[in-house]
């Protein structure tokens, strides 16, 4: 029992070590998927926090099962909680500018990440999202859990092919 507990502790410490670097955030080892900039306290580059796939997978995950206006039927979306990412970068702004690969962007209130279990989905139905599948990151609100979210406001904030987040005032 105690050995089991020590084991868990060791793993979690190791995970934390892999994420937290000089400024509290480890440097990415693989290709960078997400770059967070702006008003953040934890960085691993020049005022930016860069994440590779492993780092994102190390954050607190969630699976959201929901229907969306863009895909047919209900799907399981998995990925790190938005709140976990904000936590990891020490975000201090009220608005997030979420930008896609094609330069589309939406302004998302930081509060959305705290109020709803918003995730940046990395996989759908167990398959990693490629750019062709609206990956690598797809901002998913839990529409089916909260019908109030099923409006254009949140559809607009549901950015896919996310590559960059800028934390603003």
């Amino acid at each position: 029992m105690i050995r089991h507990l020590i084991c868990s502790l060791a793993i979690s410490l190791a995970l934390t070590a892999s994420v937290v670097g000089a400024d509290g955030l480890a440097a990415p080892q693989g290709p960078v998927i997400l770059t967070v900039s702006g008003q953040i306290t934890h960085t691993n580059g020049d005022g930016v926090a860069e994440f590779d796939r492993v780092m994102l997978d190390a954050l607190a995950q969630r699976t959201t099962t929901t229907a969306t206006p863009w895909l047919e039927g209900v799907h399981d979306f998995q990925g790190p909680l938005g709140a976990a990412i904000l936590d990891a970068v020490g975000a201090e702004g009220g608005t997030l500018q979420v930008t896609a690969l094609n330069d589309y962007f939406a302004l998302v209130p930081t509060q959305d990440f705290l109020d709803f279990d918003v995730i940046l989905a990395t996989a759908m139905d167990g398959n990693t999202l490629s750019v062709r599948d609206k990956g690598p990151l797809f901002l998913i609100y839990p529409f089916d859990e909260n019908v109030d979210l099923y409006t254009e406001v949140y559809f607009g904030r549901s950015v896919w092919q996310i590559t960059r987040i800028t934390v603003q005032d």
Binding site: P69, W70, L101, S130, V131, Y150, T151, E152, F155, Q161
Partner: protein, 727 residues
């Protein structure tokens, strides 16, 4: 104008129209709701936004295509790995949007989207085609560079196709928008019209309600006017009815007064010696008089009931006594009609209104006698369950057909038969009886068939108070002549000269000494100076009426017995008489029977001897043997001369009473009378004549008595003579 409107537009019609309009209004509201819900449905924001999204998506597609062209141009200019990656990424971005071009997507979003779908399918095919090429080039930079011209051509194809899709979608979107708008305008127009109609309907309803209020108001005003008019007519009718009742009462009274004279006179006449022819005619007069009296009484009773309703005064009544009284009342009529009357009443004293009960029984028995030619009338009373008195009056008369039974008890209704017409009557008797019996909480009815007699019956609620002594007067038999004489000094107060004379004669016939007064004031004055045994007082008189006079007499402290003569036997009169201080009262007309009843109750039976007791039979027999019947009769007749002389003294100018005995002339007459009487066996006359000669202080009253004794004695002697001669 409103009155005119109200005439054709009744509140009922308005109500009906309003109901219909309300139903229409409700239907319209339902329709409005339905339309509104439909509009809201069609206005589904999500659907619309998705359609907008589609536009956005195809536009984005076109933009990505342009960027792909740009990336390829960059790569051709400087074929670095980064530039090639950018081409690859740019293509991936286009590819990621391929799901939007899937078949069915546009169909879902745009109606009639076949051309859009064609464009999309074409574009999708081009992209998928390119994907195969690109997949083969990734990781092979040289081949990638060589393929760039081909990629550029294809990218430009994609750009052109996506542009065509954007234009087509935009066009489609515009068409959809305009169709939507048109539909919406249509729907809103429809909605507006329906709402307008609904509003109109409710405005009409309100107008109708307003109209109805006005109509109701007008109607109410009319009702008020009408009720005022009705009240006025009712008042007028009441006044007219009152006037009629008063007139009837007055006329009846005026008829009854002379009728009393006729009946009383005929009673007196029939007591005198009459030839058979005269006796028969007298009987006819008496019957007619009584019949007329019945009619008058009925009318008076009816108008009284009509004017005042029936009032009741319950008191213990002895049923056998009532039977006896009724037997007594009808005694002469029954005898005159050669019928029998048998009245059997149960031996109880019960609480009821005796006057009303008697009135009903008088009516029924009177009717029965009236309609019976032979046989008689049987009255049988029973008490059931200790609480219901049932009286049946059965006659052996002409009977009544069953279909006439209902009519019998109606006001002013007579059965139209020859017999009924011949029998006369007001037709009110049964109506009055019905009112009385019903008013007392009872029922009245008849069982009868033609030629089988009739049984009239009634039932009244009563309370048994005590058992009653059974009187032995239930069967009417020919009464003994009223031979009983009374000693009574009577003051008769009556304003009508004829009635006064008749009543005076009736009282005198029974031995009373009568003095008369023309009105109440005279009576009061007379009572102050003279003493009477009995005052008989009419109620209606000039100067001072009977009630006022009675009160005045009582006020002055006189305790003399006062008997009132009332017009009828109703409570009001009864109460008034007793309240005024009268001892008793009886209803007019004054008949021999009534006078006898009054004297029996309030007078003293005469001490004078009667019949054979007046005579010295032995002396009479011996004188008769000596002189024979004829001479005896002659002598008896001569006594009348003495009588006439005495009467002349009483009435004429003669000395005061105390001097009369000293009057030689008077003494002579008395002496002569005494001698003749004693010789002829008229002992009592002799004794009384001698008594006058020796006594002092005798007056005219005494002479009257002597004359009466003489009359009685002569009559008795004639009877005796007859008997002896027959033997």
């Amino acid at each position: 104008m409103w009155g005119k409107t109200a005439r054709w537009l009744t509140t009922r019609a308005i109500g009906r129209v309003t109901s219909i309009l309300i139903v229409v209004g409700v239907v319209l509201i339902v329709l409005t709701t339905y339309l509104f819900l439909g509009l809201r449905d069609r206005q589904n924001a999500i659907q619309e936004s998705i359609r907008e999204d589609a536009m956005w998506a195809v536009f984005q597609n076109h933009r990505e295509a342009s960027r792909l062209v740009e990336a390829i141009l960059w790569a051709q200019a400087e074929p670095t790995p980064a530039a090639l990656d950018a081409v690859s990424l740019s293509f991936d971005l286009i590819y990621s949007r391929i799901t939007l071009l899937d078949s069915g997507v546009f169909e879902e979003k745009f109606s009639g989207s076949e051309d859009l779908q064609d464009h999309a399918t074409q574009l999708q095919a081009t992209i998928l085609n390119l994907a195969t090429t690109v997949d083969g080039l990734v990781g092979a930079p040289d081949a990638f560079v060589q393929a760039l011209p081909y990629l550029l051509v294809t990218a430009r194809d994609i750009q052109r196709q996506s542009n065509a899709l954007v234009v087509a979608t935009n066009e489609r979107l515009g068409a959809e928008r305009s169709a939507d708008r048109k539909r919406k305008i249509n729907d809103y127009g429809m909605l507006a019209r329906i709402v307008a109609v609904t509003g109109l309907v409710f405005m009409v309803i309100m107008a109708l309600q307003f109209l109805q209020l006005r109509v109701i108001s007008v109607t109410q005003q009319q009702l008020r006017d009408l009720s005022i008019r009705h009240a006025q007519s009712a008042k007028a009718a009441k006044a007219a009815n009152k006037a009629k009742s008063l007139f009837l009462a007055t006329v009846s009274h005026e008829i009854r007064t002379p009728l009393n004279g006729i009946i009383g006179s005929i009673d007196l006449l029939m007591d005198s010696e009459l030839t058979p022819e005269q006796a028969r005619r007298s009987l006819t007069i008496r019957r007619s008089g009584h019949m007329l009296l019945d009619v008058i009484n009925d009318i008076l009773d009816f108008s009284n009931l009509d004017a005042n309703g029936v009032t009741y005064l319950n008191a213990p009544v002895s049923l056998p006594e009532l039977g006896a009284v009724l037997t007594d009342v009808f005694r002469y009529r029954v005898v005159d009609a050669h019928l029998f009357l048998e009245i059997q009443m149960p031996p109880f004293i019960v609480t009821t209104d005796d006057v009303r009960l008697r009135q009903v029984m008088l009516n029924l028995i009177g009717n029965a006698i009236k309609f019976t030619r032979a046989g008689g009338v049987t009255v049988r009373g029973t008490v059931r369950h200790d609480s219901i008195l049932r009286v049946e009056v059965h006659d052996t008369g002409i009977g009544i057909p069953a279909d006439q039974h209902d009519k019998l008890f109606l006001d002013f209704s007579q059965i139209d038969t020859l017999a009924a017409r011949n029998s006369g009557g007001s037709g009110l008797g049964l109506a009055i009886s019905k009112r009385i019996v019903t008013g007392m909480g009872g029922t009245i009815g008849v069982n009868s068939l033609p030629d089988q007699g009739s049984t009239f019956w009634f039932e009244l609620p009563v309370t048994i108070v005590a058992p009653a002594k059974v009187e032995d007067a239930g069967v009417a038999v020919i009464p003994p002549p009223l031979t009983q004489k009374y000693d009574a000094e009577v003051l008769l107060v009556e304003d009508n000269a004829i009635n006064r004379e008749v009543a005076k004669a009736l009282f005198e016939r029974l031995g009373a000494t009568v003095q008369t007064a023309n009105n109440g004031q005279d009576a009061v004055d007379l009572l102050d100076v003279q003493t009477f045994d009995l005052v008989v007082m009419d109620l209606r008189m000039p100067v001072l009426d009977g009630l006022a006079a009675t009160r005045e007499i009582r006020r002055r402290g006189h305790t003399v017995t006062i008997v009132g003569l009332t017009a009828n036997a109703f409570d009001e009169d009864r109460t008034q008489c007793m309240d005024a201080g009268m001892t008793a009262f009886f209803a007019k007309p004054v008949t021999r029977d009534k006078v006898g009843a009054i004297l029996a109750e309030h007078g003293r039976p005469s001490t004078a001897l009667q019949g054979r007791d007046l005579l010295d039979i032995q002396q009479l027999t011996s004188v008769l043997e000596d002189i024979g019947g004829e001479i005896y009769l002659d002598l008896l007749t001569q006594l009348d001369q003495h009588r006439d002389a005495l009467v002349a003294m009483t009435n004429g100018s003669h000395p005061p009473a105390q001097d009369r005995a000293q009057d030689p002339n008077c003494d002579h007459i008395l002496h002569s009378l005494k001698g003749a009487s004693m010789t002829l066996g008229l002992r009592q006359v002799g004794i009384e004549a001698q008594a006058f000669r020796t006594a002092s202080g005798t007056g005219p009253v005494g002479f009257d008595r002597l004359c009466q004794t003489l009359d009685s004695s002569v009559a008795a002697a004639r009877v005796e003579l007859q008997r002896i001669t027959e033997r």
